[in-house]
Symmetry: C2
Subunit: 682 residues, 2 copies
């Protein structure tokens, strides 16, 4: 036998659809499970796997999640078929045959593992009996036949509480920092036990308003809980003992950042830990609440992941889960802009990893979602709110009358990205793809061109309608007559619309630096605003913002980064949100943006082509005296150290260009490049 | 409290989708479960139920299959909403509010029961979070909050074997006739026990080829089996004892037939029992194998049901299950004609019960399926085989080159029926419908007209292309040049195409009565051929066919009617089919057609309007001396007795007309009408 190569396979997308369904059904709120509020999709119950194989004969063995039935087509006619029913060990004669294995699974989802003379891998195809065979889905996590894809393979480590304290007729356990763990309670003697999980002590002690709490009868003195988020744990039984097991995705920290400012270093590390906790089956919004997958939150996580883990798998899983299945009848998370961010995110994924195979696999769902979007266009091509749409953009006042500027910009960008992705999907490869470019290639490339043109037409129309010539910036609505200016419309225009340099400068000066324009209040949109600051070179604001916002958050005792933070608040006020005392998430992915901003705009490593084929390193000290850090790139890493006197860059990959004081140095793989600084400021 | 009216509700269609999925996954074949070979659909995992209610205040209680979360919208603004999370007892204030209950269920399907100041019933709406609220599904089977729709409510009765015999190192139990029962084996002492179910003794004794068999280790001397079909049961343990519980749908025999020929009477009774065994969650094809739902088999069951049980519920369940869900990407059961029979069957259902509400509820899926069909039309409007289509019509040689005559006829009929159903759905009601006719009524009626026109155009084209002017009958293919004539194309033309009287006469004389044209061999298509015989008044053939075919089948010891039967075969040859010794179904629904044929063409009760608003009674002695029987109709029954001297008809409903010797007698509800015969033959 050759190298052990068999892996679990499934119909592309079904693994993510299944685990997304499980995940979204796990939310607990105020003593009850809380069903998700948007459309969920069920896995296909019956799937056929097939492969045409040529062998010298031999035995293969079938392992499956579900019932199987195998047929082997030995000739070109349908009746030249041998039936093996549910047998799981089958002898193949020498020659070329098509093996079809039908799997039904009504409890989880159909998946298959074949080993022996033939083995299951990416070269197989799957179909839900709709005559639509497509390359299967796989994941490097599932190479072991004993570990089926039905169970998500998290890692586990026992953790201990730091402090145990008797109070309020029970015990309070403090685990020292926010964690995500399965808890087992022992030595319980009370008949009914109240158990409250808390991100804060206040939350853990609140029987009604701790978001995750239970009132249960112990069995043989014990109670067990599925993994959830907490730092504190209150148990209303004075004799209670607790065991906990940290559940996590074993991702390797590949990015890194260090500088002379210990506060910024701490923010980086807390952000990294915050982000790690939120990286699970998918990119989550927050680890306590909702534990759901939000498209625009996930979009930002793509950027953070790139400078921390550089893990394409979680990106793919997230994008597949968000895209759902046909029939697609409502915006992702019910939010219009979130559907558009999904397209932009897939383009970001492709741009980062150059993974054309994935683009091809997710293309049918992109078509489905795009058809939905195009079916909702107004006659003028703009997207206006229809029944069931949530026109979100941000938690902020905006003039949402008629077509909203930000939505049109994102729709234009989605169209452009979809065109680019079609082009990537239908272009010829040098790689050996499992799915050959089909005869429809030309049609596909024409379609790609068409979406490019459509995006450009929409961009022109946006500029015509939303650009206010007097104010020289973008307004929210051209239909209301109010000519309202917000940071949101202008930040999105700056980042996603092909603006002229003058338009960008105007936006920056007349809106972003204009204190009279209402400030951004959410870390979510701060992400975009900080991007603009950095792109405008007004870099010192980054450190200032990190110190002021995150630094003061850490001073309140935060061990992970909050969903939102107002320095003016005191004590438990920090924990309230959405009208409830502890509903705020104290460990929220979108707050991990310093990882990305420091990597992209201080270390300055930015891809300039698909998959870092070429990339720039543009170190910028900003407000710092020195820094040293690592940015992961495909196949390697870029290490960048800078102080006021010199820049040192080392990388093990080629394609990089170091830019210092407007001059370029070609980076050589395996060699350090050192550039001395002439001017104090570069 | 008023009358107890609460019932279980679910998103329309999901009950059938779920039970169809369960049913289709239950097939056992040669020791293994055998997954279904066509596209199955999964239930929606999360559904929102809603109702706008006006109450004087009070408490309601929620019972659900799954997790629930309730919100109550108290004003017109979205934020005027009260959240109750998973609470199951909620106090409602006086006034008008909209109650929304979200239910998630990943294991079965979301369903809901509300009782108290508000109650769940047909007036509620459901949505799968795709902003598409539609009236819920209900079933009179589910009025009890303790009995959820997750379990199909069959009835049970203990049954005993007639004979127990030690042989072949084990025991053979004979239950005297085919049955469908759960079996429990007791007093087992062997470590491993072989258990074979058999419709015949030969099958039960065959360890390899009995279709349903098991080799298992008893637990504490016992083994239990989910209900399945058998007459014989072999257990390879000499000490074995067996208990069995008959599982059945408690339908009332409402039709009836008796005549002087005891053989025909026996056939009628065996057909009734055969049909009863196949009436379960849905109309099954056969009770042993496949136990799947085939569209054209189900179509014929509609007719038998009408003259035996007159149960609209099983018809609705079957039609919903067959229609599947969006996206519809492959023909029902993979067979092109079966998709067309689905439309024709829905029209048949509407015509019989006048149930416009159901037509409206199934309309979205009809639209989906019709869009699929229309997407597969050739440029000339004909339906030609495409990848994945099975062009079936019957197990018989046919010239299938290019467009096949039978498929075009059935497609035309499907278009006509769809047009008729659109008209029914969008017409104004006098009834109080839960779903008001919406503003799109005019568009709907226009669409209906359009499909009517399209059907008529296709009919003309079929006559132009498939009618052979020389042969004066229809040919299978106009593209092959072979001008092949089969009974199939002509029977379908006779029954479904608007043929002239001359064309019908030609078909009857030149094809049906022409022994040179290859005979029909399947009971499936005999159903249609016998219809033609009866419509042509060549009625004596019916008795002849029943005596010859079914009579000799009974003489082989059949206790139910076989899938197929060849009088020339002997012994166990009768049990073989599809290349395996016992794969033939010995209890097959499509063989129950005598129930329909005797009811429709002897008792002669035929609806002439929607829901028997008017109906004809055209008794025909055929080859018999006398008969007496009952035909169920909406709200009552028609009893018809005839002999060579007089006809007696009694009915408790109005609208009937008795036809004797070309003359009409109006039937009066509650009164017997007696007509004396003048001529011996009428």
């Amino acid at each position: 036998m050759g190298i052990y190569m068999a892996k679990w396979i499934w119909k592309f997308g079904e693994f993510e659809i299944y685990h997304s369904l499980m995940l979204h059904d796990r939310r607990q709120q105020y003593g009850y499970p809380e069903p998700v509020v948007w459309k969920m999709y069920a896995p296909e119950p019956v799937v056929v796997f097939q492969k045409k194989v040529t062998t010298a004969g031999g035995v293969f063995r079938i392992h499956a999640c579900g019932h199987v039935s195998t047929t082997i087509q030995t000739g070109s006619k349908l009746w030249e078929t041998e039936k093996y029913g549910g047998k799981t060990e089958i002898a193949l004669k020498a020659g070329t045959v098509t093996v079809q294995i039908r799997v039904s699974n009504l409890k989880t989802f159909p998946c298959l593992f074949v080993e022996g003379v033939i083995e299951s891998d990416e070269s197989w195809e799957a179909d839900d009996l709709s005559m639509n065979f497509e390359p299967v889905g796989t994941d490097s996590l599932f190479m072991d036949r004993e570990k089926t894809p039905e169970i998500f393979p998290f890692s586990y480590a026992p953790i201990s509480y730091r402090k145990k304290e008797k109070l309020e007729n029970g015990v309070l356990f403090d685990y020292g920092k926010e964690t995500f763990a399965a808890v087992r309670l022992l030595h319980l003697t009370d008949q009914k036990v109240q158990v409250n999980f808390g991100e804060s002590q206040e939350e853990a002690l609140d029987h009604d308003w701790s978001v995750i709490h239970f009132l249960q009868e112990p069995k043989e003195g014990e109670l067990s809980y599925a993994p959830c988020a907490f730092r504190y744990l209150y148990v209303s039984d004075e004799g209670a003992e607790a065991e906990a097991e940290y559940e996590y995705l074993p991702l390797e920290y590949r990015g890194n950042f260090q500088c002379e400012d210990e506060l910024i270093n701490r923010v980086w590390h807390v952000a990294a830990y915050t982000f790690r906790l939120n990286c699970r089956e998918f990119f989550l919004d927050g680890i306590k609440r909702d534990r759901w997958v939000w498209s625009a939150d996930a979009y930002q996580s793509l950027f953070v992941n790139r400078y921390l883990f550089f893990d394409p798998e979680i990106e793919k899983r997230t994008l597949i889960a968000l895209g759902g299945k046909a029939p697609f009848k409502r915006h992702i998370n019910t939010i219009m802009d979130y559907t558009f961010f999904w397209f932009i995110g897939i383009k970001e994924y492709y741009q980062t990893y150059g993974d054309r195979k994935f683009v091809r696999q997710i293309l049918p769902q992109m078509k489905e979602v795009m058809a939905f979007c195009e079916g909702r266009e107004s006659d003028d091509g703009f997207m206006r709110e229809k029944q069931g749409d949530w026109n979100f953009i941000d938690w902020a006042p905006m003039d949402k009358e008629g077509a909203l500027c930000g939505e049109q910009i994102l729709y234009g960008k989605a169209l452009e990205c979809y065109g680019d992705l079609l082009k990537a999907a239908f272009s010829k490869d040098i790689e050996n793809e499992s799915r050959p470019v089909d005869t429809k290639q030309e049609q596909g490339l024409e379609l790609a061109e068409g979406y490019g043109r459509k995006a450009r037409r929409l961009y022109e129309l946006i500029k015509e309608k939303f650009y206010d010539k007097e104010k020289e910036v973008f307004i929210d609505s051209f239909e209301s007559g109010r000519r309202n200016v917000t940071r949101h419309s202008n930040i999105l225009a700056y980042l996603f619309l092909p603006c002229s340099e003058k338009q960008k400068k105007d936006i920056y000066e007349k809106v972003i630096l204009n204190e009279a324009v209402r400030q951004i209040t959410t870390p979510y949109f701060k992400f975009y605003e900080n991007q603009v600051h950095c792109l405008e070179g007004n870099g010192r604001l980054l450190e200032e913002s990190i110190r002021k916002y995150y630094g003061s958050m850490l001073k309140t005792g935060a061990t992970t980064l909050y969903e939102e933070y107002d320095p003016a608040m005191k004590g438990a006020e920090h924990y309230a949100m959405y009208g409830n005392p502890y509903e705020k998430s104290l460990c929220h992915a979108w707050s991990a943006s310093p990882i990305y901003l420091l990597g992209a705009f201080r270390l300055g490593v930015l891809s300039t082509d698909v998959a870092y084929e070429t990339f720039d390193v543009r170190p910028d000290l900003g407000d710092l005296k020195w820094f040293c850090g690592k940015v992961p790139v495909p196949g390697g890493v870029v290490e960048v150290c800078a102080n006021e006197k010199e820049i040192r860059v080392w990388t093990d990959v080629s394609g990089g260009t170091l830019w210092v004081e407007g001059k370029a140095w070609e980076l050589v793989a395996g060699k350090e490049t050192v550039v001395k600084i002439r001017h104090l400021s570069f």
